[in-house]
Structure formats: structure tokens, C-alpha cells
Symmetry: C2
Subunit: 198 residues, 2 copies
């Protein structure tokens, strides 16, 4: 069993975190879901959902780590303690997946420098400003570079996690998960219908 | 402002509840989101998310009420106290929306009897067995009958809530919300790509 850990913080975007949680939860034979925050305890999403979490320090290494976006990221990129802890967790993780402006948090750690990555196109200028050394891809549903998966806005996180399942366990398994939640999967990571609408 | 209340219980399906929460939260000028359970306090989703809730008795009338599905519904249809409280809340709500096997809970209250409704096709035989007097629709992404909206499985709840926004505020508003979360909306409630896959 591998830990599939989701990092939460005040002002996280609900679907960024819990769309992937729904999908990862459909792989109970391989992944063990956990919810973490900097100090543990209750955190509140932008949609006012109050969620209990464990402290990041308790995470085990070699996990899969997912970082959502949301308005909370605007302050957090300036929070050196948070970024240091996230950097450590990302460093020890087997894979790091970010959704939407979660890419900005990962970019701030420096771990994306020189790598290809994407984010929400509506917040793209701000995300790019966080780290200009990342090879930002301006049209992609999600981008894979080594052990880093970064997705476009909100719903794109679900497509990415299905793509991650496909990469690790095969397209049939991913398709089975999508069907089980009656989800119409955009399976082409290069198909970004929202890139040109901004 | 209208309250948009989501009823949670142990074993609720995460995306059934929090996909709609994401979407409803994009209408902050008209809807005030709240999370409730029978007695209030912490409840845990099937994907192990621990969420804080308020007691159903504190709900104000004339709200929009959303009931998710999930494995927890299997026990709850047999829980007369829960069904009685849900029936009272549904009775006082302006609109009732159910996702997936949440339709079984609503059907159990008797309020759907004689009305058209749908649910997850993978659990359809069980849901139908809960109340044979409902006009169950076996191919629909979601169904509208009066103030009752019922959707198919998990992800269909997001399409339904966008359809609900479209009915109340116009298709352009719904499309704007879908775009803002980069969601590829299945806007046709009669298009059910998963009905025939079972």
C-alpha cells in the first residue's frame, strides 16, 4: 500500500482536492488516503468545508503527494515556513501532483525549475511570476515531467489523476475508475478546451 | 441570499457532495453554503474525509437542500429517525437535489412517490426497491420533477447543479460557472453515456 496524501490549507479550492480524493479512493487496494496540513487540525476550504487534518511532519516518505490550489495559495507562496515544509514533503515523495494554483506552491519550492509544468490559465500570469525558471506550458490539460504531474484549473485535476492511474496501472484501469463514478474523462492531456477562452 | 445546504452522513460519497459544493460556491451572491448532519459534529466520507457539520434541526426553511449518495445510504434507508428528519427538511426546502443513491433516501421519505426520478445505474435495482411508486427513469443524466432534481451517479451531480443554475439563472450563467472551474459540462440532462454500460 502506498500513501496518497493530500495537503490542505485554509482557502483551498474544494474540487481541486476532493475530485482527486474521489478518484484515488477508487484504488483502495493500492492507495491509502490521508489529509494533511502544516500543523494539523481543522482547515476550511473556499467553499466553507471544515476538514480535519494531520500535521505534515507525520507524513511517511515515498508517498504520492497532491497539492490543490485555491485563493489560499496567494498568501502561502509568501509563507517561508509552509514552503519549507512543503519542499521537504515533495522531496521525500515518490510522485508530486498539483492542481490549479497548487502549481505555484510547488514552483515556489524550486523543485519545478527547469521542468515543464502547467496551471490554471486564468491565474497563469501570477503563477508564472512565482518562478520564471519553470518551463510553463500554456496549453495543456495536464503536464508530466518525471515524478511531477501538474494540472490546469480545478476539474482538470480529476483528468490528471485518471491519467496518473493510466500511467501506473494502465488505461483500462483508469477507464474503469472513470466509469465507476460516471465521469466523462478528458483522457488527452494535450486537449485543453479552456486555454483559448481566457 | 438563499441557503444551499448539503446533508452529510458517515459513508457519504465525497464527489456527490463536494462536486456540487464547488459549483454552488461559485454563486456567492445568491447562495450561502452550509453542511449539516443528523446530530451535527464530525462525519466521515467513504474517502476518509472528516468534515464538521451542524445539526439538521438548525436548518432554515426555504433552503436548497442537496443529499449525496454513498455506501452510508444502505443503512440510512432503514434508520427511521434519520428518514423522519430528512423528510421534514425536504418538506420545508424550496428545492431538493439528490445525487446518486441520495435518491434512495429521498424516495424513502415518500416525497418522490408518483414523481419521475433517477439515480446511479449501478445501484438502480436497489434504489428502485426502496420505493416502487416512484416513476424511475433508467436513462437520464438527471431528472427534474417540480422542485425535485435527481441525478445519476457521482459526477452527474455536477452536471445537474449546473442544470439547476441554468434553470434558475440562465444557461449563460451556468456556462460561466463551468468555464470558471474548467469543467466540461454535459449540459443535456437526457444524455446518459453510462446508462448502457452497466
Amino acid at each position: 500500500m502506498t500513501d496518497f496524501n493530500i495537503v490542505l490549507f485554509d482557502g483551498f479550492e474544494t474540487l481541486d482536492a476532493f475530485g482527486p480524493a474521489e478518484i484515488a479512493g477508487r484504488m483502495p487496494e493500492v492507495w491509502n488516503l490521508g489529509y494533511y496540513s502544516l500543523t494539523g487540525g481543522m482547515v476550511t476550504s473556499s467553499q466553507k468545508i471544515e476538514v480535519n487534518t494531520r500535521p505534515i511532519k507525520e507524513m511517511r516518505s515515498d508517498c504520492i503527494l497532491l497539492i490543490p490550489g485555491g485563493m489560499g495559495t496567494r498568501q502561502l507562496v509568501l509563507d517561508s515556513i509552509f514552503i519549507k515544509e512543503i519542499a521537504k514533503a515533495c522531496d521525500q515523495a515518490a510522485f508530486v501532483l498539483t492542481v490549479c494554483t497548487g502549481s505555484a506552491l510547488l514552483a515556489k519550492t524550486g523543485l519545478l525549475s527547469g521542468r515543464r509544468a502547467t496551471s490554471n490559465k486564468r491565474a497563469f500570469e501570477w503563477v508564472k511570476s512565482v518562478n520564471g525558471e519553470v518551463k510553463w506550458v500554456d496549453q495543456a490539460r495536464w503536464v508530466v515531467d518525471g515524478r511531477f504531474y501538474t494540472s490546469s484549473g480545478v476539474s482538470a485535476g480529476m483528468d490528471m489523476v485518471l491519467g496518473f492511474i493510466s500511467d501506473l496501472h494502465g488505461a483500462d484501469v483508469a477507464r474503469g475508475v472513470a466509469d465507476s463514478i460516471e465521469y466523462i474523462w478528458n483522457a488527452d492531456k494535450d486537449c485543453d478546451p479552456f486555454a483559448l477562452k481566457v
